[in-house]
């Protein structure tokens, strides 16, 4: 059995940031990640991040990823790669599979930083080879350096859809169109304008109703939708493409939280069911949830949540005095508040407050 003070499950932005904070404060920490490379989805995000300077704005995601890896190793954190957590049990026991062998880990504190998974759409042909998530396309072009196809149709205009479209162009693919059911672009205008300038049409108020092809995608049928998203099939038209990418949102990966008997709540603004947590992201006496598992946001917020959980765990393990700890926590709260401001951020800020309120109600803190 492996004994540790802190076990972090997931080595993406949240998990790494948590590990860095905890490690720097002297917490014996292990991060596990099922991939052969840590960093989660940062390494495919080769665009410059937004926000203020303290959020590393202007730095590309993959560069942030490399910085985090250096900091993790400087902080003395152990990282187990190719390691999956397969179960979480009573008394803080976690089952992991490392190099094909199952092992038992007992940790005083556990941080779940398992991230999110991408949503799918279902329509005739949606299972054909050539239909994939935007994240898959992004991983293949930016990490593996392989084009998933030549003529790409992107479904969804959130930031993931817009940024991935632009990066597909950078990688040399032809993005034939971007489709959005809503009447407006979902993500930032800056990103939308970049692809518009490159001559990619954005079909607002449209949806895909089928993918064509027998063994692989050869095209797609698009239709306009009305204000209730009802498609008008009489106005359907065909688009020639060999690849269709879904950028239609993400869902928190909460399986381990559920296995730890954490109550959950459904919050659409955060991507679906999320575990209830308190101000310090605690979902139970010894388990924290940080990053997309606690509500889908962006890598910058995930890192701040990771830091918060890392500091909070260190405080509970008496690795930092309460005064210094509270100061650190307050600084993180301030940075999180900045990230959750503005037109897009405020919805998430309110949603996060709702989680904390529900958790308090459940505890009986509010009459």
């Amino acid at each position: 059995m492996i004994n540790t003070e802190l076990l972090i499950i997931g080595g993406g932005p949240a998990g790494l940031a948590a590990g860095i904070e905890a490690g720097k404060l002297g917490v014996k920490t292990i991060i596990i990640d099922e991939n052969s490379l840590p960093g989660g989805q940062l390494f495919k995000q080769i665009h410059k991040f937004f926000g203020s300077k303290e959020h590393k704005a202007g730095t590309r995601g993959n560069i942030i990823g490399e910085q985090l890896l250096t900091e993790v190793s400087d902080a003395g954190v152990e990282v187990y790669l190719n390691t999956r957590a397969w179960g979480i049990f009573d008394n803080n026991i976690v089952g992991i599979v490392r190099n094909g062998k199952t092992e038992k880990v007992k940790a005083e504190k556990i941080i779940l930083a398992t991230g999110a998974s991408e949503n799918a759409l279902a329509f005739p042909g949606s299972t054909l080879p050539g239909v994939m998530t935007a994240g898959a396309a992004q991983t293949f072009i930016n990490v593996h350096r392989v084009l998933p196809g030549k003529k790409i149709l992107m479904i969804g205009t959130g930031n993931v859809g817009l940024i991935t479209s632009y990066q597909l162009l950078q990688a040399g693919a032809d993005v034939v169109a971007v489709v959005e059911a809503a009447p407006n672009v979902g993500g930032y205008d800056v990103h939308a304008n970049k692809i518009r300038r490159a001559g990619v049409p954005i079909y607002l108020g449209h949806t895909i109703i089928s993918a064509q092809g027998n063994s692989e995608v050869t095209g797609a049928i698009l239709v306009p939708v009305d204000d209730k998203f009802k498609p008008d099939k009489s106005k359907s038209f065909c688009i020639d493409c060999d690849t269709i990418c879904f950028a239609v949102g993400l869902t928190p990966r909460i399986e381990l939280a559920q296995m730890a008997n954490s109550p959950t709540t459904y919050i659409s603004a955060l991507g679906g069911h999320v575990p209830l947590h308190d101000q310090k992201l605690k979902i139970s006496d010894s388990i924290f949830a940080a990053g997309d598992i606690a509500g889908v946001e962006e890598a910058s917020t995930a890192m701040e949540e990771g830091r918060l959980a890392g500091v909070a765990a260190a405080m509970e393990l008496d690795k930092i005095n309460q005064v210094d700890g509270i100061e650190k926590v307050n600084n993180i709260y301030q940075r999180l508040a900045k990230l959750r401001s503005g037109q897009f951020g405020i919805k998430r800020a309110l949603a996060k407050e709702e989680i904390i309120k529900k958790e308090l109600e459940l505890k009986g803190g509010i009459e």
Partner: protein, 378 residues
């Protein structure tokens, strides 16, 4: 609004489902109350095996025989899929002593027309080619055993009942009863009250706790069995495999000698550890239990170690003190019919459900059920 029906059935497992199916077939109005979802207890958490040679000759074995015909009927009449397949099944023995007891046991079934034999060593591989015969010394084989899909069967029965007018309330937990003249007048749930002439209690392992609200203490204990399911793989296990102790009625020494498994129609394997009695209703799984079970399976099937386990869970099963079902009317509350603690309920649920429906409507009475009467604990 008063929710009324001729019969209120508490519990949407395979037993409650079968009773609802046959009652609605007779035109009775039925309400089914379920604290969780259909097949969310032991009915959904089992290996789906059809077992014969752990059954008592008499009513229980007759139920088995009749149920096989009824299962076939559901599919033949296009009512729902059961995926039933008679494949033959084996019970595992690890030493000479167990084999000897096994021999006597199967004689009893062969005399009744079943086709059973003891297979030793390489003979076992005719049925299960990938079993390690250095680990398993012999098996009791029964040709009439097989497997089915517990989910589609339970849900199929309930859906058919709903089609014939049954009302199904899920996530509706019974919290109390109201009495009048020693009869149950009202079933109180967290979603309001329900009224019926007859109340059927088909609540499996939960029965003792529920009945304590009526000051009854039926000696049903919690058993907990853990199961894991693998990803789908090509056919490699032919029929159901059960621990030999179920057949020969002895207990093994040691912890991990209780392995039961089935490969299902979709290719998945469910691999289970035997149920044991516990005092609490804990559905948790443990690291040691899960890994121990996986290792125990690997010891028996060394060629099947590259399967991926995709999910583990435990199911709470009812263990009645004297191993007999609680089946029939309560003496204390004469409008309450119990159908709980039927061990390995899947194999016998259709016939037991049919008979229960006939007893409730007064169409038939088989006095062999008296042995199962709940009165013995009242």
């Amino acid at each position: 609004m008063h929710k009324k029906a001729n019969v209120i059935i508490i519990g949407a497992g395979v037993v409650g489902g079968a009773i609802a199916y046959y009652l609605t077939k007779k035109g009775e109005s039925v309400i089914i109350l379920e604290q969780d979802e259909a097949a969310s207890g032991a009915s959904g958490g089992n290996n789906g095996q059809i077992s014969v040679i752990d059954r008592e000759p008499g009513l229980e074995l007759d139920w088995v025989k009749e149920s096989m015909e009824l299962f076939k009927g559901y599919e033949e009449n296009d009512e729902f899929e059961t995926d039933m397949e008679i494949t033959g099944g084996i019970a595992l023995f690890y030493n000479e002593k167990e084999i000897e007891i096994g021999r006597k046991v199967i004689e009893k079934y062969n005399a009744l027309g079943y086709n059973c034999e003891i297979l030793i060593g390489d003979e076992i591989k005719k049925q299960e080619p990938y079993i390690d015969t250095d680990v398993v010394m012999g098996v009791a084989y029964c040709k009439e055993e097989g497997k089915l899909n517990p989910f589609s069967t339970t849900i199929g029965l309930i859906d058919q009942a709903i089609e014939k007018g049954a009302k199904f309330y899920q996530k509706t937990k019974v919290i109390d009863f109201k009495l009048e003249d020693n009869k149950i007048k009202e079933v109180i749930t967290d979603k309001g009250s329900f009224y019926g002439d007859t109340i059927v209690v088909a609540t499996g392992a939960w029965t003792r706790e529920l009945m304590s609200k009526l000051d009854l203490d039926y000696k049903i204990f919690y058993g907990r069995g853990s199961l894991m399911v693998t990803n789908p793989v090509e056919p490699c296990i032919k029929g159901p495999i059960v621990p030999g102790c179920f057949t020969i009625g002895t207990l093994y020494e040691g912890d991990w000698n209780l392995l039961g498994l089935t490969q299902h129609k979709n290719g998945t394997l469910t691999i289970g550890q035997d149920t044991r009695s516990f005092n609490d209703y804990n559905k948790g799984v443990s690291y040691d239990g899960t890994v121990g079970l996986a290792k125990h399976f690997a010891k028996h099937f060394p060629k099947l170690t590259n399967l991926d386990v995709v999910r583990i869970w435990s199911a709470i099963t009812p263990h009645v003190e004297d191993s007999l079902p609680l089946y029939g009317y309560s003496k204390k509350y004469p409008n309450m019919f119990l159908a709980a603690g039927l061990k390995g309920a899947f194999t016998i649920a259709p016939a037991a459900g049919k008979m229960a429906a006939e007893m409730i409507t007064g169409d038939c009475y088989d006095d062999r059920v008296e042995e199962y009467s709940p009165a013995r604990f009242e």
